[in-house]
């Protein structure tokens, strides 16, 4: 049992490419910390540095208070689950699970007992004598888990363990991994590029981009109070609608394209930083669920409505996802684009139409009568608007 502490940990590859820069992170005992980010964000490199598979260029890595920068992997007592599972193909399930114990020269009968216990916990008892090739993807995943937990590691590392499974299996294993992790109760770092996985599994989530930590917090906190455009765009599915906008000179309205929304007093009070943005450009963010069909609203207040052309409606049963085109310019920060690319895999490609129409998504009630091709009025929950500095990408709060 140990906490994992990274202090200003950096990795620069021999060719001069920085993979991770000044990463500060602390994973408490029993905590499941998810590292999430698009490919190339440095999350796997960070994990491999903790495992000892990658040298740390600078900074300090501690486990249970002890500096382990130069400790070889075998002395760190970490267990790791790999994306490809990395099961030894020539060994049986039992041999795979017991391999680390065998290397430690544990007596055979003890290994057998431990392997049996792990197999029981994972439902692999009937497969102990099978080779990995004879197992299904989910079973291989369980063997990889078994191999990790049987050693009673002080740190548990997982590198995209679910990405090779089909969607249904992924949901099932997601719950199973969470259950096992809680039961084993050790500090766990879990790498994924899938924000849904991050949100559902993480006690806390660390969002990485270009080798730098963007924000670290509980899933709810990242969702409700993203620190910057990247986190705002990356967390949440469908992704936050981000448009270039301006704050009116009196500071009471936000202008999006040719339309404007009134800024409620509560919002201005909770975000004093907005006062300094009077007459200046901002990026405004609207979560899809904060847009609703005006036709269903009893009496929308003044300055809470946005008009847009409905392009496509996806009926999900419990709600409708309304894809629309709005007369505004989509925030085109490089970061938002990178986040969109990974976060919103299912979404339509961002089109910039003539006349600066930008797309967006609203999640509305299934009772809505909106039709593709029609003009829609959306009521905006203006209390929940997000604002970002267009130059730095940082959220505007204080």
């Amino acid at each position: 049992m140990a906490t994992i502490t990274l202090e200003k940990v950096s990795k620069v590859y021999p060719n001069g490419l920085p993979a991770v820069t000044d990463l500060d992170l602390e994973v408490a005992e029993g905590e499941l910390m998810v590292l999430v980010g698009p490919s190339g964000s440095g999350k796997t490199t960070a994990l491999r540095m903790v495992a000892g598979l990658e040298d740390i260029t600078s900074g300090t890595l501690r486990m249970g208070g002890q500096v382990v920068n130069d400790l070889p992997p075998k002395d760190r007592n970490v267990a790791m689950v790999f994306q490809s599972y990395a099961l030894y193909p020539h060994m049986t399930v039992a041999e795979n699970i017991g391999f680390a114990l065998k290397l430690r020269k544990m007596p055979k009968d003890q290994i057998k007992a431990k392997v049996r216990d792990a197999a029981q916990m994972l439902g692999l008892t009937d497969y102990l004598n099978s080779k990995p090739a004879q197992l299904s993807g989910g079973q291989r995943q369980r063997v990889a888990m078994g191999r990790a937990i049987v050693r009673e590691p002080s740190v548990f590392l997982m590198d995209e363990p679910l990405s090779n499974l089909d969607a249904k299996m992924r949901v099932q294993m997601r719950a199973e991994i969470s259950r096992i992790q809680r039961r084993v109760g050790v500090a766990t770092m879990y790498v994924t590029h899938d924000q849904t996985e991050a949100m559902t599994m993480g006690d806390r989530v660390a969002v990485l981009h270009m080798g730098r930590l963007q924000q670290c917090g509980t899933p709810q906190m990242l969702y409700e109070r993203p620190d910057n455009i990247f986190v705002a765009a990356f967390i949440g599915s469908p992704a936050m609608n981000l448009y270039e906008a301006g704050i009116s000179s009196d500071g009471e309205q936000v202008v999006i394209g040719s339309q404007s929304l009134a800024l409620p007093r509560g919002l201005l009070e909770s975000r004093p930083g907005l006062a300094a943005m009077k007459g200046r450009k901002v990026v405004v963010g609207i979560r899809p669920e904060h847009l609703s069909d005006a036709a269903l609203a009893p009496s929308p207040g003044p300055g809470t409505t946005l008009y847009a052309d409905v392009e496509l409606i996806e009926a999900l049963g419990h709600e409708l996802e309304v894809h629309f085109l709005i007369d505004a310019t989509r925030a085109r920060s490089e970061e938002a684009a990178a986040a969109q690319e990974t976060a919103d895999l299912g979404g339509a490609p961002a089109l910039t139409m003539a006349g600066a129409k930008s797309e967006g998504v609203a999640r509305v009630s299934p009772r809505s009568q909106l039709k593709a091709g029609s003009r829609a009025a959306f009521v905006v929950d203006t209390e929940h608007l997000h604002f970002f500095d267009p130059d730095t990408g940082a959220a505007i709060w204080n």
Binding site: L53, K74, S84, L87, Y88, P89, K131, P132, A133
Partner: protein
């Protein structure tokens, strides 16, 4: 319903076949036509000569005269022929020594060359040169190198004050077979290195990561990951070394003619002498048949014992 005509004969393979139906006959015709070129070549250059040799082994023939039926005469001669038995022994020695000389060395080199540093590729390219040389050419080159007193090795020995280099390498009863083994290894190790290099490169890097995290040292990773993963490379290479050595002939013919005495006279050499020097094609065919059977037996045994044929396990577990 009538069967719609198709342009591609293949399409008919997926249809349920009815015994004796026209479709089936047409399929068979198509199949036979498809494999006939290969079958013809295989027959003309392998099956027919092999069967002819087996047939000749039951006859006496000196090429000029008529072929005379000899029954099991040649075969009973083989079983009581001390010369052939000695040749068989030398053949086994050559095969065993070649395996010892080539396989472990090729494996070590192959694993080393499979590394990622650029200079290794350059080295490997130079190293492969023996593969490009003709056997006759390299035999003559080695003959010059090993010539006592005047050869390259003797010269080197004299200049480096290493007198042991000046030996009658090919003329000594004690050394000739080992010298031949070394020359054969020099010629073929690069090829087997390629096999092991490819085998090593096919081992996923994550297996080593997993082993490292599991606490394996470099040596343990070699024993528990590399070696088992190279199993099929080892079988392939060993089969080629062993079966190849059984019929090895040309270097020996050029360098020693089986001598000195009978120390390097392998069965293939014996066969050649019996056939082309003594023109006893019947008995030479017995030796040829024995060699063929030995080769098949060795290959079959290796494949069977190592499970190579079923190819279970492999790397399917990775993905």
């Amino acid at each position: 319903m009538a069967t719609a005509p198709t342009l591609l004969g293949h399409n008919q393979l997926v249809r349920p076949r009815q015994p004796g139906s026209t479709a089936r006959r047409r399929n068979l015709l198509f199949d036979v036509a498809g494999i006939s070129p290969t079958l013809a070549l295989y027959g003309a250059f392998l099956v027919v000569p092999t069967l002819f040799a087996v047939f000749l082994s039951f006859t006496n023939w000196d090429v000029i005269g008529p072929i005379k039926w000899a029954g099991f005469g040649n075969w009973s001669r083989f079983f009581s022929d001390p010369v052939a038995h000695h040749s068989l022994l030398v053949t086994f020695e050559l095969a065993g020594l070649s395996w010892l000389a080539q396989t472990p060395l090729a494996m070590v080199l192959g694993i080393w060359v499979a590394g990622t540093q650029r200079y290794r590729a350059v080295y490997a390219a130079i190293y492969l040169v023996p593969l490009l040389l003709s056997t006759a050419g390299l035999s003559i080159m080695w003959e010059d190198l090993l010539f006592p007193q005047y050869g390259g090795l003797a010269w080197l020995g004299a200049h480096l004050h290493m007198a042991f280099l000046d030996h009658n390498w090919l003329g000594s009863q004690d050394l000739a077979l080992f010298t031949i083994v070394v020359i054969i290894a020099w010629q073929f190790v690069p090829f087997h290195t390629l096999i092991f290099q490819a085998g090593r490169r096919a081992v996923p890097a994550t297996l080593y990561d997993a082993a490292t995290v599991d606490g394996a040292t470099v040596r343990q990773a070699f024993w528990h990951v590399t070696l088992p993963q190279l199993r099929y490379s080892i079988v392939t290479s060993s089969t080629l070394v062993l079966v190849g050595s059984l019929t090895y002939f040309d270097i020996i013919y050029i360098l020693t003619l089986g001598g000195p005495g009978d120390t390097t006279r392998v069965l293939a050499m014996d066969m050649y002498n019996t056939g082309f020097t003594e023109t006893e094609f019947g008995y030479a065919s017995v030796l040829a048949t024995v060699l063929g059977l030995l080769g098949i037996a060795v290959a079959a045994a290796l494949v069977r014992w190592t499970g190579f044929g079923s190819m279970e396990g492999g790397q399917e577990g990775i993905w």
